[in-house]
């Protein structure tokens, strides 16, 4: 389930200019990718949506993850694990693999593929 950003009215008014989008590669049509994305969506909904919006549709309470650069996974991991500004540190609540799953989910919404570790 890939949510195209253009379908959502708010996308046109994202506050920051996203970095140039990487070449969009359709997510691999295999069970592994779909399962990871599904796990990520589920975790995101229970943990992150309350501030960052359901299905990433942000209203500014938390930062707009639709504008998060695809090549900044390290920053994503650091911010979520250690906390940043009003966001608390989540690392003690996260199980192994959940960060990767959420990253894959964000990639699926924003239209960039995520390389899966074999």
């Amino acid at each position: 389930m890939v949510f195209a950003c253009i379908a959502v009215t708010g996308c046109a008014q994202t506050p920051s200019t996203p970095s140039p989008a990487p070449t969009v590669v359709a997510p691999a049509a295999n069970d592994g990718a779909a399962q990871l994305i599904g796990q990520g969506r589920s975790r995101y909904t229970l943990m992150c949506a309350r501030c960052h919006g359901l299905n990433l549709v942000s209203n500014g309470l938390g930062s707009d993850l639709r504008a998060f650069p695809a090549d900044a996974k390290e920053r994503f991991v650091q911010s979520v694990n250690k906390g940043i500004r009003a966001m608390p540190a989540w690392e003690s609540s996260l199980k192994p693999g959940e960060l990767d799953a959420m990253w894959a989910y964000i990639g699926s919404v924003n239209g960039w593929a995520v390389e899966l570790k074999q």
Binding site: V8, T9, G10, Q13, S42, T45, L46, M47, A49, R50, C51, H52, G53, L54, N55, V57, S58, N59, G60, L61, G62, G83, A86, M87, P88, A89, W90, S92, S93
Partner: protein, 569 residues
């Protein structure tokens, strides 16, 4: 204890005389009598809800449908933060008081100038433990002392003169998913608070505190454990984390000496995991304030699957019904039905649908008050794991959410902000995760807008005939409180920042003013020197805006402030 000060007794008369003398001087400490009379007195506001019945009706009639077009701002005070400003001010003597999640502020109501401001210490990781935003809804006050809760589940008393903290007590450990946002209630000589945390696997409770010392006098849990009365309405091992939180302020009838407090959703939301009716989720509890004893209860949504909290304000009214006067409580429930209940004994009187689309129940049995499940709902009780997503109306936001309604006793009309949105959910088996993690037992797929595009409406409702009188639809639901005035004007604010005045007779918008942020506050009306003022907070960060996927509220700037208006002179 306070019963000795009943009006009519010699002692009561002296208390009234002395109270009036003190009221005449500039600096005044409000008495218990001021709290009792709050709904009748236009010159002060000493309680959350403008009276123990929370009718939110102003007895001053200066502002009318004819002159409200001349309403202009008199001052604005910055609240210096970007959080949700869903608070109601108090006005006592020559000082107005307003709370934010991080501060308590005293100000001059005529000039808007700050007098003092006291900061709270908030743990830096608190946001992990909140379902629905960081905010606070208001204060209680008595004898020169202010009482409030803090988001990290503490209760405190402060000196009204200078904001110094007199005592601070812990209601629960926030790291267990507990928090507090509501204004405390003073009833029967006791300070009463509830608790939030229904999405975290919390167990709900009410606490009675000593007003002077902050010592806990009693604690009443709201889920029934095995062996307790109602304990057999749960699967084993669930009720201990079963929800039924108590996150909005109750009402109080001093003659009956009963506090009415609503309980929230079951934990998890998945009804098959919980099993049975799950007492006392989604109920009204009638509580004896001195002891916390549950005198009677009525459960709105037994075994609820949809997060239909029973916490919405339980407005008290004496209605001309059945050839006499019925002492009732009224609630526009999250489940989409408007309930009228006999508040002396908890007997069900009536429940009729106010939400536009209800597909979880075909109606409410008018004899027992019990909902009649649709096949969709009946199926959810049978198996923990859903085969697919289902679409439920109303959504978890409910047909009406926390934003309180107003009751006009001169017109016998309720004015309330309603919501018209559905949701897609798929039920799953989930173990309680603990810590800062939600425990719902379902996948939240998203929210669904209605066909006509109007996700909300300000509705006028006749509670005697239990039916709609008029509605003023809106693309995005209003997430702020409603105020009605004797003059026939209804005030409320939009999520896009407009404070609006409606004609009470037909819902026409007579005046509007654009503030700097969305309005999720509770408007009040008050008087000084013959002038009627309207005060409301602006500053939004609502859970609806965060989760609802409503494109019309995605471009609202944050930033809290307090506004006051009066007729142009």
């Amino acid at each position: 204890m306070w019963r000795q000060r009943q009006l009519g007794s010699k002692r009561g008369v002296w208390a009234l005389v002395l109270g009036s003398l003190f009221a005449a001087s500039a600096c005044v400490a409000q008495t218990m009598n001021d709290l009792r009379q709050d709904a009748q007195t236009a010159g002060d506001i000493t309680t959350y809800g403008m009276g123990w019945s929370q009718q939110r009706h102003a007895t001053g009639g200066q502002i009318t449908p004819q002159n409200v077009k001349d309403l202009v701002p008199t001052w604005n005070l910055s609240l210096d933060n970007s959080a949700n400003a869903s608070s109601q001010p108090l006005l006592i003597g020559d000082t107005m008081y307003i709370t934010t999640h991080s501060h308590t502020i005293a100000l001059d109501p005529l000039t808007g100038r700050q007098k003092w401001k006291t900061a709270l210490e908030i743990p830096s990781d608190i946001n992990a433990y909140l379902c629905c935003g960081i905010h606070t809804r208001g204060l209680a006050a008595l004898d020169g002392v202010l009482y409030r809760t803090s988001i990290d589940a503490h209760v405190m008393a402060m000196n009204a003169t200078d904001g110094k903290v007199l005592w601070r007590s812990k209601a629960a450990d926030y790291k267990g998913g507990y928090s507090l946002t509501h204004a405390p209630l003073i009833a029967g000589g006791v300070l009463i608070t509830g608790i939030s945390g229904g999405e975290y696997g919390a167990r709900g409770f009410l606490t009675g505190w000593d007003l002077k010392t902050g010592q806990e006098k009693w604690k009443r849990f709201t889920t029934a454990l095995p062996g307790e009365k109602g304990g057999d309405t749960w699967n084993p091992g669930i009720a201990i984390n079963g929800g039924a939180t108590t996150w909005l302020t109750g009402t109080y009838d001093p003659e009956l000496d009963l506090v009415y407090w609503g309980t929230g959703n079951g934990s998890p939301w998945n009804p098959a995991t919980r099993g049975g009716d799950s007492l006392y989720i989604n109920s009204v509890l009638a509580i004896r304030p001195s002891s916390g004893e549950i005198v009677w209860h009525f459960q709105f949504s037994p075994g609820d699957p949809f997060d239909y909290d029973g916490t919405n304000e339980l407005v008290l009214a004496d209605l001309p019904m059945s050839g006499g006067t019925a002492k009732v409580l009224m609630q526009a429930n999250r489940n989409g039905f408007f309930y009228v209940i006999n508040r002396t004994n908890g007997k069900f009187i009536s429940a009729q649908p106010f939400a536009k689309k209800i597909n979880w129940a075909t109606g409410i049995d008018q004899n027992t008050g019990r909902p009649i499940d649709t096949p969709m709902t009946a199926g959810l009780r049978k198996t923990e794991v859903g085969a697919d997503f289902i679409e439920a109306w109303p959504s978890a936001f409910g047909g009406k959410n926390w934003m309180p309604m107003s009751f006009d006793p001169s017109r016998n009309l309720v004015f309330m902000n309603t919501v018209n949105v559905g949701m897609k959910v798929k039920y799953v088996k989930q173990e309680r995760p603990g810590g800062p993690n939600w425990w719902l037992g379902l996948e939240l797929g998203g929210f669904v807008g209605p066909d006509d595009g109007n996700r909300g409406a300000l509705m006028a409702w006749d509670p005697i005939r239990n039916r709609k009188v008029w509605e003023a639809t809106t693309k995005s639901p209003h997430w702020s409180g409603v105020l009605s005035t004797k003059g026939g004007v209804v005030f409320s604010g939009s999520q896009t920042g407009a404070l609006m005045a409606f004609d009470a007779s037909d819902g026409k918008v007579l005046w509007r003013f654009q503030t700097g942020s969305g309005i999720s506050g509770l408007p009040i009306a008050w008087e000084r020197n013959g002038v009627q003022y309207i005060t409301v907070t602006s500053g939004s960060g609502t859970v609806y805006a965060a989760l609802g996927g409503d494109p019309d509220v995605t471009n609202v700037a944050a930033g809290g402030s307090l506004w006051t208006f009066a007729l142009k002179r």
